[in-house]
Structure formats: structure tokens, C-alpha cells
Symmetry: C2
Subunit: 421 residues, 2 copies
């Protein structure tokens, strides 16, 4: 009997009705003859509400206690889900992160999974029960304390379970039909992709595609887990995210998709002395803040001044701490000033085909030029090209490029009312 791991996000279990609907769906899979393990998130906005409550008590909640607090969210949804399934006449057992053997390090709020020992989950399956596991949470063997994996952690929980239990597939249920060649809310003729490689998915996620949490995709790639991103509102097949080896390269298009991202900002370090190792010094400081840098561009140094500018993009949420860290080191580095710009948009085209096909960047730049869209930064990886534009023209840019690469579908994509995960 094949084992399937299913992950349901907060919007899929927002209230009693949704929980019953999800329970029905799980039971269908069980009836189809599969062993089923479910990873579930907290109901709707529970996590945010708990955070607000903590902030009412103290502006700096203790990390250990914060994890103790937040992990109650998934325990509520998993218990309700197990009740719902049992009320439909099927065995179900819920397990907390520690009960499910999600062993992590002790970094509260951003714990890393170090081991998965789902002994009790196995027992439940052997007893013919459906196992419901609390997403997002784990347990530190060293500190004996409860930990959380950080935002989007439930996706990671599901993939880690799928890997440890050798599941046939890990189904990630969301409120769209799957992974699209572009955001259907932006590009009307966005095309649902039947299959992408984990590598491409990783670039798409990094490029701003919200559908999957990047950490979960990384985990899936490292452990060869096949993901199936599909809608919890329909029974249509979604998008298979498969290890590169398994992907049928015959069908591989040059470009898989186009992604737009408005969550980044740009910092420019102006007038950096153009001496060896300066960039290293700057990004060492940035790295210490824990900020995630995406694109980096260094202008050609102006011989006259012997100084250069270094620009990089990072999540807006990391802006303040990085600016503060750099200002503190201004004397030692000796740059002239800092510029912060949070009105940028990042457009990325992703596709395994790029490796082998020349001229993708040329085609991209041409499309943007014809649309009169200015590029402020460019960076390329083996299967991704990203450019920075003004924020207000990003959606138009995504449209144009999607069409230019012949990705438009024949008919328009269905967009659900769902609030996303």
C-alpha cells in the first residue's frame, strides 16, 4: 500500500466547515487505498493572533516561550481535524512535533530539522489509522524544548515526513490549481505547468513565486521527494515538482515561467574605495545581520575617483537592520553614503532550457525595451535571469515577457477567491 503525505495550510482549515471539508478529502485518499499522513498548519490567522497577544504582554517576547505559545496553533487544528475524521468512521491520531519525532536544533523561531524519527506515526499507520501531524513545529533533543521552524514551516514538515517515511508523493494543497508560468492574478493567460524540476521550482520560489516555501523545495531537492502542488478546492491534477533526473526533458521548454516580486528593496553603497576585498568586507557585515541577499551589482570603478558603487537587493523587512549595520561600519569601510530604494520590482525568467539555448537574455531585454521598460539591475544564474524595474511597471513587464516567450495559454486561468497560504 503506497503512502501519501498531504499538507493543508491555514486557509484550508480556517473554520469548522473547512476542517470538515479537508477531513472528507483525506478520507477519500484513504478510501482509494493509500496510507495517509497529514501535516496541518494553524487555523486561518491563529498564528498572527497569538503573536499579537504576546506583543500585548511584552514588546520582546522570550523566544522559547514564543515557540511554546505559537505551537498551540497547529495542535488545535490537528486535534479538530482528527476528530472530524473519526466522526466519519475512520481511525485518526494526531501528533505534536515532538510526538512525531521532528527533532530540530534549539534555535527558537527558526529551528532546523536535524533528524526525523516518526516512530509513533509508523505505529499509527500500522494500526490502520490516518496520522495527523502538527506542521511548523519540532523538538530539541538538547534543550528538551519545543521549537518552531519559522514561517512556511508546515511545507517543510510535510516534505521532511515524506522523505523519512519514503512516501510516494508529498501533496501540497493550496488555493490555486498549481504552479503557473506567471501569477494568474497578474497574467490572465498564465499557463498551469504540469511538471517542473525542483531546481526550476527553487528559482521560481526565490524569484517570488509564493506557491511553495523555498525551504521545503530545497529539502525536496536534497532528499529526492516528489511534490504535487494542487488545489484543495478542486480535484484537478496540479503541478508535479520532480527531481531533475525524472523530468522528461523532451518536453522541457526553454523558459518555464516568469515571476514578479515586489517584496524586495535595493541598497546602494555609494563611493566605496575600489580596493581589493572591499565587497567581501561589506557582505560580511550584511551576512552578520542574517539578511537574505539576492542580486548584487558592482559598477565599473571610475578611474578618476578610484571609487565604485555596490548595489544589492534584499527583502524590505531586512532593510533597517542592514542599513544600521552598514552605517555603524562606515568609518572602517570608508564609503561615502547609503541609498535605500523600496520602490523596485524584480522580474525573473526561469527555465532549465536556458543552459542550452543562447539568446534568452537578448530576447528578454528586447521585449522590455520594446515595452519602454527600463532595467536598473541585471543578474543571471544558470537557469534564471532577473532584472530590477520600477515597482509600478513590474506587472506590465511580467505580461510583456510572458507573451514574448510564447508562454500565453489559449484561454484564461481560473483564479480562486482563496486568500493564499
Amino acid at each position: 500500500m503506497s503512502l501519501i503525505v498531504q499538507k493543508f495550510g491555514g486557509s484550508s482549515v480556517a473554520d469548522a466547515e473547512s476542517i470538515k471539508r479537508v477531513a472528507k478529502r483525506i478520507v477519500e485518499t484513504r478510501k482509494a487505498g493509500h496510507d495517509v499522513v497529514v501535516a496541518v498548519s494553524a487555523m486561518g490567522d491563529t498564528t498572527d493572533e497569538l503573536i499579537d497577544l504576546a506583543l500585548e504582554v511584552t514588546p520582546q517576547p522570550d523566544p522559547r516561550e514564543m515557540d511554546m505559545l505559537l505551537t498551540t496553533g497547529e495542535r488545535i487544528s490537528m486535534a479538530l481535524l482528527a476528530m472530524a475524521i473519526k466522526s466519519m468512521g475512520h481511525e485518526a491520531r494526531s501528533f505534536t512535533g515532538s510526538q512525531a519525532g521532528m527533532i530540530t536544533d534549539a534555535r527558537h523561531g527558526a529551528a532546523r530539522i536535524v533528524d526525523v524519527t516518526p516512530v509513533r506515526v509508523r505505529e499509527a499507520l500500522d494500526d490502520g489509522a490516518i496520522a495527523i501531524v502538527a506542521g511548523f513545529q519540532g523538538f530539541s533533543r538538547d534543550s528538551k524544548d519545543i521549537t518552531t521552524l519559522g514561517r512556511g514551516g508546515s511545507d517543510t514538515t510535510a516534505v521532511a515526513l515524506a522523505s523519512a517515511l519514503k512516501a510516494e508523493v508529498c501533496e501540497i494543497y493550496t488555493d490555486v490549481d498549481g504552479v503557473f508560468s506567471a501569477d494568474p492574478r497578474v497574467v490572465k493567460r498564465a499557463r498551469k505547468l504540469d511538471q517542473v524540476s525542483t531546481e526550476e521550482m527553487l528559482e521560481l520560489a526565490a524569484a517570488g513565486a509564493k506557491v511553495l516555501h523555498i525551504r521545503a523545495v530545497e529539502f525536496a531537492r536534497r532528499h529526492n521527494v516528489t511534490l504535487h502542488v494542487r488545489s484543495s478546492f478542486s480535484h484537478l491534477p496540479g503541478t508535479l515538482v520532480v527531481p531533475p533526473s525524472e523530468k522528461d526533458t523532451m518536453e522541457e521548454p526553454i523558459i518555464t515561467g516568469v515571476a514578479g516580486d515586489l517584496t524586495d528593496a535595493k541598497i546602494t553603497v555609494v563611493g566605496v574605495p575600489d580596493t581589493p576585498g572591499m565587497a567581501a568586507d561589506i557582505f560580511t557585515i550584511v551576512a552578520k545581520t542574517g539578511a537574505n541577499i539576492d542580486m548584487i551589482v558592482q559598477n565599473v570603478s571610475l578611474a578618476a575617483t578610484g571609487r565604485t558603487d555596490i548595489s544589492f537587493t534584499l527583502p524590505k523587512s531586512d532593510g533597517d537592520k542592514v542599513l544600521t549595520a552598514l552605517r555603524a561600519e562606515q568609518p572602517t569601510i570608508g564609503f561615502q553614503s547609503l541609498q535605500y530604494d523600496d520602490q523596485i520590482g524584480k522580474l525573473s525568467v526561469v527555465g532549465g532550457g536556458m543552459r542550452t539555448s543562447a539568446g534568452v537574455s537578448a530576447a528578454l531585454f528586447t521585449a522590455l525595451k520594446e515595452a519602454g521598460i527600463n532595467m536598473e539591475m541585471i543578474s543571471t544564474s544558470e537557469i534564471r535571469i532577473s532584472v530590477v524595474t520600477r515597482a509600478d511597471v513590474l506587472n506590465h513587464a511580467v505580461q510583456v515577457v510572458h507573451t514574448a516567450f510564447g508562454l500565453d495559454a489559449d484561454d484564461e486561468a481560473v483564479v480562486y477567491a482563496g486568500t493564499g497560504r
Copy 2:
């Protein structure tokens, strides 16, 4: 350094503000040079809200999952309380029932404590931290599952911890100043008792005094734990509930207090054949339903008929199941009919002094007679006399008796707005 266990109920931690107030109170105790262990209930009506949520999902929630669900309530309040204390610059660590070593049997929803091994609580104290323990919950060694102790369980958690940790005292914080000679809401001149024996407290609780959960008092008596019932809204000393031995008998009054209870109903089994062992048969049937019987009265048999009536009181909530059970056995027992009366009030006078002083019942009956209050049932124990009256005259009866036994204070008791625990 002496160890104090403090218990705070749901109304004391109903919102962020109350939690900060309680945290301040705990820190004061710590600053006074004590080790402090806190048992805390779920915030306000959280438990009821979680129950409602479960009932929305299914009319018969699975007991194991129900416990998984309900135990999140105390985890939220304890985490918030620990955060609040840490934000005041004191070390605090919260522990779930299992982390605190609350080992119970596997009876979900009504688990019994079988062992208390508070190893991590000890470690926290040795590290100079304040330990916050989730009330109401435990962990079954056999099933490895999370359990709950049933309603009022947080009082029991506190007493069990005090016993296991050899605490100097177990402080039960509530919204009244302590244990009164009668309900201050009924008797204006009710007197706050400085000290009562656990035995008397047990009778008072059984007689309807809401201030302490009867199970916790039983536990305190069996394990010689001294309780201090006091208000979380004032710093006045409350009522010490001490093992009989320790109670200063010099001060022992004949009557400790008067309690009224409107939660009971009366069942009369009419026309029972007056043959040996009939009562035994009837109460075996009743016992099988798990109902708690309080008073039992058997009328003198009428020689003419050879039949007798047997009346007993029980919680209204148990009425239906007992009536059903008895009707089912009517043929075998051969009684004529059943009468159910839920309009009764139960008045009890409690006092260790009764043992040695004659005429307490006489004085009680006289007081009621002079007030024109009719008694329908009478039962006496070594330190308690209870009588059943009509429900609508109970409060008046309590007033009258309180005065008759000279319990009235010189001034009126302060009644807080608090909603009780």
C-alpha cells in the same frame, strides 16, 4: 529558601493586562526571597470556546483528541505569563503537564494523577528561575498521550506540585478574600475564616462552597498540604486550610460555616418492597451510572403496606441518567414509581466543634422553625448537618442560620465584581 506554589485561575489571567498584574504578583513573592512554582489555568473562557469549536466539528469529539485540543489553553496562558515575568527581568520557564512530570492514568477527560516527577521544575528552581506549570493537564506513561484532569483540575495540579516539591504552602488565588462562614453574596455579614481544617473545608466544598475544588482539598488532606486561599485582587491574608492536627483547637468554633447549594435535585423511589438489601440494590444501580449521591433518607416502613420510600439528592446534571437506569430496573426491584424534584435547596452547617458539642441539630432546627422554613430531608455526618428546603427559601435559611449560630461579622464583607473561578 522556602518554596511557595501559587495557583491562578482563568479569571486572574483573562487578558494581557491581568497576566501582567499576576506576573507582578509572582515577582513580588520571588523578591520576598521564596522559590516560586506557579500553576495556571487557561485564559478566561478559552476552554469553553475550544469545547464549542470541537462540537462544531462533531457532536461526539474523540476523548484523546479533545484532551489534545483543550490542553492548548493552559499552554497559551503559561507561555504568556512566563514572557511577562521575563520582561520584568526575572528568569521564568514554562512547562507543559508532561514536561512537569504530571503522570496520570489514561482516562481522557478525567485522568487521575498516579505520580508527580517534577525533575525539570526542580532544575528550573535550582537555576534561580520561576517555574510556570500548565494546570489541568498530565501525561499517561502507558499510552504516551496527553490527558486532562477534568474541571477544576488546576487546583489539583497546584496541590500535587506542592506535595511533590514539599512546598511550605500552596496559595490558591481567587476573586474573594478567602473562605467565608457563608457566601458573602448571600449573607452580608458573612465572616472571613482565618483558618479551617482540611476536613471542614472538604465538608464545605461538598456542601456547595465553590471557592475550592473538592478533589484538590482531598489531595491536600491526604498529603498534608497547607492551602492558603486568598484574593488575587488584594494583599490581605486569606484563609489557611490546614491539616486537623495543626489547627489550633483553642480557637475552634462549634460551627465553622453555613453553606447553601442549589445545584442538587432529589429523587424519591416510591413504594419500595421493604425487604432486606433493597436499598443496596437501588444504590448499586445508581453507583453504576457514576452519579455522586449526597444525602440519603429512607422513610419508616408502613407496616400496613410493607413498602417504603427512599429519597436521595444528586447533582441535577446526573438526574436523567439515574432516572433512566432506575426505570430500566423497575421490574426487578419492584418499586411503584419515581419522583424527580429539581426545585430543592440544600443547607449545611459545618464545624469540627459538633463532635463535642451537643444540641447543634436542635439549634439548627429551631432557627429554621422560627423562620417558618420547612425541612424535607435531614442527614448528619460527624462534622456536618444538611437539610433540604424549597429552593426559593434557601438563601433566607442560610441568613437565619448564620445569625442563629452567632457567625455574623461586625461589618459587611467586601464582594468583588470577579466572576469566580
